[in-house]
């Protein structure tokens, strides 16, 4: 077994933020310490933030080699993009 602490990815939603954003990673022996450490390293303890930590090994990333297959087809089909509808003023944050 490796003596190195596992790697955790850290996602933070700031006080007025709408979604959790990936901010970085850190090493920690378990989830609780990962949260504690994330608070020290990434938030400077601003109040009202939410922190997610997830073991890096639990994240499945798409392969760069699949880029064309996954993303290319949508580029040439404008009707896939919902850009033809005027949005009402009241709808925020879309």
């Amino acid at each position: 077994m490796s003596k190195e602490w596992p790697l955790w990815e850290v996602f933070i939603r700031s006080q007025h933020g709408l979604a959790h954003k990936h901010v970085g990673s850190l090493h920690a022996p378990d989830a609780e310490m990962a949260i504690n450490n994330a608070r020290d390293v990434y938030t400077r303890r601003n109040e009202g933030v939410s922190i997610w930590v997830v073991k890096a090994s639990d994240i499945i990333a798409s392969s760069p080699a699949d880029k064309d297959a996954l993303f290319e087809p949508s580029n040439s089909k404008v009707y896939r993009h919902p850009t033809f509808f005027p949005m009402p003023e009241e709808v925020k944050n879309l």
Binding site: L26, E32, N36, V41, R45
Partner: protein
């Protein structure tokens, strides 16, 4: 004697001496994340020091601000508890010192938020948020290491036993403390000690550590300016620049 001035010095000096000692860990922590956490705690305590000593200086009315109080008093003028000037030692020693202090500090600050001195209540309220985090963190680590390997358990138990004789002083009240209790500024000793003992017992139970014997001789003197030989060295390092260039702007 101005009791409230003395009482404020004690609060400020506790935080100042511990902050100074924690800073010595910077870059030497057992892991990068621990390093960050210790520095964060040191910064919290230094911020608290400034609030306590600034208020103390204003109350004294002798023109001493936070800097003069921190850098131009010698060991005999310091009012910190002896626990906080104990050497950093191993990480177990540092953590145990922190845990004992955080436990006492948390319950003290919680009570001080009800102080009839509004300014003290305000400082306590601000500091309590930080102390809540400190206590959660040090308690968590005491459990992890106490209930960790045979080696970590032995080191934590040794640190717990070694530092225990310095914990009593926080609950040994003198005329200054009694005056503060009488004026409704500070909480009484007994409930504070009971809360301290209960929390230590709970955490130690989870950490598989033995609580040292309650009725043991407790070292005292720090609050009256009678310190262990170590404080002089801490201050010599901390105050060097101000002593060499007194009154310099920085």
């Amino acid at each position: 004697m101005n009791e409230k001035f003395e009482y404020l010095l004690r609060q400020g000096d506790n935080a100042l001496v511990l902050a100074q000692q924690l800073c010595q860990w910077t870059g030497k922590g057992p892991a990068l994340e621990e390093d960050m956490a210790l520095s964060n705690i040191a910064l919290d305590l230094l911020g608290q020091t400034r609030m306590w000593l600034t208020y103390a200086g204003e109350l004294e009315g002798a023109g001493r601000d936070e800097d003069k109080l921190a850098f131009l008093r010698d060991a005999g003028g310091f009012r910190n508890c002896l626990l906080l000037e104990q050497p950093n030692g191993s990480y177990a020693d540092t953590l145990m010192r922190q845990f004992y202090f955080d436990t006492w500090h948390y319950f003290l600050l919680e009570a001080l938020t009800n102080s009839n001195d509004q300014r003290i209540a305000g400082i306590a309220e601000k500091a309590l948020k930080e102390a809540t985090y400190h206590l959660r963190r040090s308690g968590d680590l005491v459990v992890r290491l106490g209930d960790g390997t045979a080696e970590s358990h032995a080191r934590m138990q040794a640190a717990a036993d070694e530092l225990w004789r310095f914990t009593g002083e926080m609950f040994i009240y003198d005329a200054v403390d009694e005056a503060m209790v009488a004026q409704g500024v500070a909480p009484a000793s007994q409930p504070l000690r009971a809360a301290f003992l209960q929390h230590v017992a709970e955490i130690f139970d989870e950490a598989t550590l033995e609580v040292p014997p309650l009725e043991t001789y407790m070292q005292r003197g720090g609050k009256q300016g009678r310190h262990t030989e170590r404080l002089g060295y801490i201050l010599a390092e901390m105050q060097f620049l101000q002593r060499a260039y007194p009154g310099a702007e920085w």
